[in-house]
Structure formats: C-alpha cells, structure tokens
C-alpha cells in the first residue's frame, strides 16, 4: 500500500460537541428563561439540534473527498474503476 487512506482528521473532534452537549442535563434543566412560551428545557434542546447540524456540516465539508475517486492504491484491478455494479 503506497498511499494508505485514512478517515482521521482533527475536524472529527468537533463532533464531540453534539455528542456530549445534549447529555449534560444540568446545563438545560430549567423552566426559565422562556422563549415564545417554551421553557428553557425545551428550546435549549431544540437548539442542540442546530448545533448538531452545524458541526456535522462543517466536518463534512472539511473531510469530504473529491467526487472522482482515485484508483485504489491496493489490489489494482484490471477492470475500470468506475462502474462497480456488476
């Protein structure tokens, strides 16, 4: 394997935020302040959904691969690498 691929990236650490934040109940287990009638417990947890969307979008943009996949480094096949559906 000349150039091993990897899915390691420092950007992945960003995903710790949406995994940990919704699980820390002392952060949001309150009734006030209310927002449009919603107790804090509810609107804060709704806002965590957006935190999840934003962080996964950033990590996706930063780690996505170019649309054309380069030929696999290992197991050089004689078949063209495009259409794999047999």
């Amino acid at each position: 394997m000349s150039a091993p691929r990897s899915d390691r990236s420092p950007w992945n650490w960003l995903l710790v935020i949406p995994i940990v934040l919704p699980l820390v109940t002392p952060l949001y287990n309150f009734d006030s302040p209310r927002l449009w009638g919603f107790p804090a417990f509810y609107w804060l947890q709704f806002s965590f959904i957006f935190v999840g969307v934003i962080t996964t979008s950033i990590v996706y943009q930063m780690t996505k691969r170019p649309p054309v996949t380069p030929a696999a480094p290992a197991e050089q096949s004689t078949k063209p690498a495009e259409t794999t559906d047999e």
Partner: protein, 548 residues
C-alpha cells in the same frame, strides 16, 4: 363509526395509493437482475442523497415513535423528551462509526452486520449470536408498528367485539405490505417513504401552527401541563427533570442512540446508499427529523391542554395513552385533515415495518441459511430465501399482536433495545480494532445479556401493577446504593459486557488461544464508490485462511 366516515375514506384512499406504489416500486430504478440479495435487500446499493434521506428518516422515526413519544410526554412530562437528545447524539455517531461499516461492506459485499463480524473475527458462532440477537430484537419492533396503526384505528372507531374483528384491518394491511415487500424488496419502502414523510411533515407543521393558536399559545400549553403534573401524585413527572431521573435521562438517550445504530434496519438503510459522501451529507440533513420529533413530542402537552382523555386499554380500568395523539387530531382538526393525519401515522408504520422485515430476512439468509443450511447457495437462491423469510417475519409480528397483549410487545421492544446493545463491542468496536478476542466478545455478550435480562425482570411497574418488565429505569438502590436515582438498564449491561470482553481477552491471549484470521484490511474501512469489490472473499473464507 358513522362519525368517522370521512376520516376512514381519506385514510383508506391514501393507504391504497401507497400500496400501488409499493408494487410499482419493483420497476423503479430498473434493477438489472432482481434475483440477487443486493438488489432485493439493499436496493442495488445505489441510493443517492435524497432517497437515503427519506429512507433512513422513514426508517428511524417510526409510527410507534410518533404515537409513543407524545404519549410518554402526556403521562410523565420532561422524561419523555429524551427522544430529542437521543436523536441529536445519534448522527455524529453514524458519521464517525457507521461510515466505516459502509466501506468495509461495500468492499466485501456484506449485507448484514453479522457478515462483517464473521469475516473480521473469523467466528461463525459470534456471527450467529449477532444475527439471532438482531432478529429477536427486530421482531417486537415490527409488532410495535402495528400498535401504532391500531391506535389510529381505535380512534376512528374501527374496532369489533371479537379479537378477529378487532384485528381484521391490521391483518389486511399487513398482508398487502407483505406482498409488495416480497415483490419489490427495499425499493418499496424507499418509494413509499416519500409519501409518508411528506404527509407527516405537512400534518405536524399544520399541527404546531394551528393547535397553539386554538389552545391559547405555547405559554398556556406548558402552563396547563405544569398544573396537571403538580396536581398528580406521581413523583417523577413535571415540566423539567428532577434530581432522581437525570441519570436515567442521560443514559437512556445515549443507550438508545447506540442501540438504534446497531439495529439491523438502520444498518440496512445506511448500506443501501451509494457512497460515503451521501451518508456524511445526510448526517447533517437527517436532524430535520429530530426537530420534527421534538414538535411531535410536544403534542403530548397539547393533548393535556386540550383536555384529551385517552381511550380505555385492553384490560379493564387501564387507559391506552397511545391514543392521545390520534384523539387530539380527531377533536381539533376537520375530519378530512384528521384522515390525512391518521394516514400519515398508518403509512408511517409500513415503511419501517418493511425495512425491518427485510433486515431480519437478510440476517436469516446470510448468517443462518447460507452459513449452516446451504453453504453453496447462489445469489438467486439467497434472494429467494430472503423473500420467504420476510413473509415469515411479518406473520410472526402479526401473531404478536393477535395473541399477546399489546403491552407485552412494548415490553419486548424494551428488551430488544437492551439485547441489541450487547452487539456493540463486536460490531462498533470491531470497526476500529481487532484487539478484543472473539472468545472475549462471546463471553461479554453472554454476560451482558444475562445482567440485562435480570435487571429488566426485576423492575416493577406500579402504574400497571406488574411485578416484572415494568420499564427500563433501574433503581440504583437494588445495587446497594443508598439513593432513589435510576439508570438505564442497557447502559449497565453493555458496560459489564465490555468489561468481561476485555478480561476474557487478556486471559485468552495469555493462554495463546488462536484468534482466527482477519479477512479485512485496514484500507477496506475507507473504501468508496468505484473501488474494486471482493465478492468472493466471503463465500470462500477457507481460501483466505485456515488458521483454526
């Protein structure tokens, strides 16, 4: 029943419409050869961003979720809102972990998580345990979808006195579902999911705009709920969590997230997408459903505010909280729109039920039939067996509903979540490292199962006056801690599972017990669309190694 004629007509019309779609789906995206498990069971592994979004969304957010989560909120308040953190946490986990399963499955042609475990750990026994766990955990989940439909039918007054008359509509619905799943495989739920999700989005957007307007605004709704919880004698309810159920809330959210991505039907949905970018992109688009689910959960409070009284349950004196959302729609919406809302829930049951039965059929075919009954099965034979197996699974699910109290399938679903979590060390950790020994994984699985079952068995439910399997919140005082706090059973069981797996691994390694041959290579975990595939790797593992 006569008051509900409009609702029933709209419901039936939409139901028949998607049934036709289900049969037509076999021709959708023109499979080259349907007699292949990749085509029938994974839709040709070809789904792009939009289809995956609808399919996985329709798969993870089931009819039961739409009925049971607001029912929980209606009954207990904040504790039922765990569904939101649960569905926030799950997508980063998918993003990081399941993507590797997609890659290695793409390279090796794996159809099930047990296929992966078989090749990774070179252990047919471990793969069999994973497959059986998956099938057993999925069955009650399918049955629960029927509970969702039943709540709707009950509200429309479609019930009879005898057991057969009460269940006849469900049997008919499931027979149609079974027929088009048999015919079209995963393409049927993928196509129907478009209709289901569109209907659900419309219904919920209308509900959250229109109902608060009718009920006096969100502030009033929350205040009414708060007043109800303050008046009730139950200690655990309220608009926010109390000191005793926070650990339960956290561990239930995290444990449910881990369980959900191990369920065979979620893995089936992910494996059907065509490349890594489709999956990653979807992880930032799928939370739209979490937002929807949060709003649906709040329907429980609207039902309190609107003064909904749940219909009686199957046993005298009990109430069926699952009927609160259908009743709320029935009371507040014009009849035709209530019919649309009911159809959304009913069709919402069909999509996940189809995917679940396909996932269970794939497990049976690949990891039991092909492994133990007919090792030289061709692709066409695999597809044929899977189609039959999907029928058997559905008959089993209907039998659950016909012969058992629906409450029992809810309990079994609870058990299912704990069961499926026990596959985490082999499947999820196995995607990163092969450090754990296959013997350790088997021992850990057994230990986690035993502890989980014992804990569930020992939880009583004061509300339904049953001594066992009363819920998933385990009182820590039973472990000898002097506290009224509770914790999620699955979480404790999987922790023990992991501990045993590590200890037994150390022992087996010290004894130099053979570890078997790893059929995967590091690069397999990053494979993407366009990479060469190794179809033969799984069919003849003997050619790769004969280490044990």
């Amino acid at each position: 029943m006569s008051d509900h004629i409009t609702e029933i007509v709209v419901f039936t019309f939409l139901f028949l419409l998607v049934s036709v779609m289900g049969f037509v789906a076999a021709k959708w995206r023109r499979p080259t050869d349907m007699a292949h498990l990749d085509e029938w069971g994974l839709g040709g592994r070809s789904f792009g961003g939009w289809i995956t979004w609808f399919l996985v969304g329709g798969d993870l957010y089931t009819a039961y979720t739409f009925v049971a989560v607001p029912a929980l909120i209606f009954g207990a308040g904040a504790a039922g809102f765990f569904a939101v953190p649960y569905t926030v946490v799950i997508y980063p986990l998918f993003f990081l972990i399941l993507i590797r399963l997609w890659s290695v499955s793409h390279r090796h042609g794996f159809v099930t998580p047990a296929d992966f475990v078989r090749t990774r750990f070179d252990s047919p026994l471990l793969a069999l345990l994973i497959a059986i766990t998956g099938i057993v955990a999925t069955m009650p989940y399918i049955a629960l979808q029927l509970v969702g439909i039943e709540a709707v039918l009950k509200t429309m007054g479609v019930t009879g006195d005898s057991a057969l008359a009460r269940h006849a509509p469900i049997i008919v619905a499931f027979a149609i579902l079974a027929a088009y799943t048999y015919q079209s495989g995963l393409r049927a739920p993928a196509l129907i999911a478009f209709v289901k999700d569109t209907l659900i989005y419309i219904v919920i957007i209308v509900a959250v705009l229109y109902l608060p307007y009718k009920l006096g605004g969100w502030g009033t709704i929350f205040d009414d709920a708060s007043a109800k919880f303050q008046a009730s004698p139950a200690p655990g309810d309220g608009l926010t969590l109390n000191a005793n159920n926070q650990i339960q809330y956290i561990t239930l959210a995290l444990g449910s997230a881990l369980a959900l991505f191990l369920y065979p039907h979620s893995i089936t949905g992910v494996l059907a997408s065509k490349n890594r970018n489709v999956i990653k992109r979807n992880m930032s688009a799928l939370p739209a459903y979490s937002f929807l689910l949060g709003l649906i959960a709040l329907l429980g409070y609207m039902a309190i505010s609107a003064g909904v009284k749940p219909l009686p349950g199957n046993t005298a004196g009990s109430v069926d909280n699952n009927t609160v959302v259908p009743l709320l729609f029935d009371q507040q919406f014009p009849a035709w729109f209530a019919g649309v809302a009911f159809a959304a829930i009913g069709i919402g049951a069909l999509v996940p039920a189809a995917i679940m039965s396909i996932a269970a059929a794939n497990l049976f075919t690949r990891n039991i039939y092909k492994e133990y009954i007919r090792k030289d099965a061709t692709h066409a034979q695999e597809a044929g067996v899977a189609k039959i197996a999907s029928l058997v699974v559905k008959v089993g699910a209907v039998a659950f509903i016909l012969f058992l109290d629906p409450q029992f399938s809810i309990d079994l679903q609870l058990v299912g979540g704990v069961l499926i979590l026990q596959t985490a060390p082999a499947v999820a950790i196995g995607l990163y490292t092969r450090w754990l020994h296959r013997g350790g994984l088997i021992a850990g699985w057994a230990g986690g199962m035993a502890l989980g079952m014992w804990m569930l068995y020992s939880i009583p439910n004061p509300a339904t006056k049953r001594a066992h399997f009363g819920g998933s919140a385990f009182p820590l005082e039973k472990f000898g801690f002097d506290t009224p706090k509770t914790i999620y059973v699955g979480f404790v069981a999987v922790a023990l599972n992991l501990l045993i797996a590590v200890l037994v691994t150390l022992v087996l390694r010290a004894m130099k017990t053979p570890e078997g041959f790893d059929g995967t290579e590091p690069d397999d975990y990053f494979a993407d669309e366009g990479d060469p595939r190794l179809e033969k790797a799984r069919t003849t593992p003997e050619t790769l190694a004969s280490s044990t």
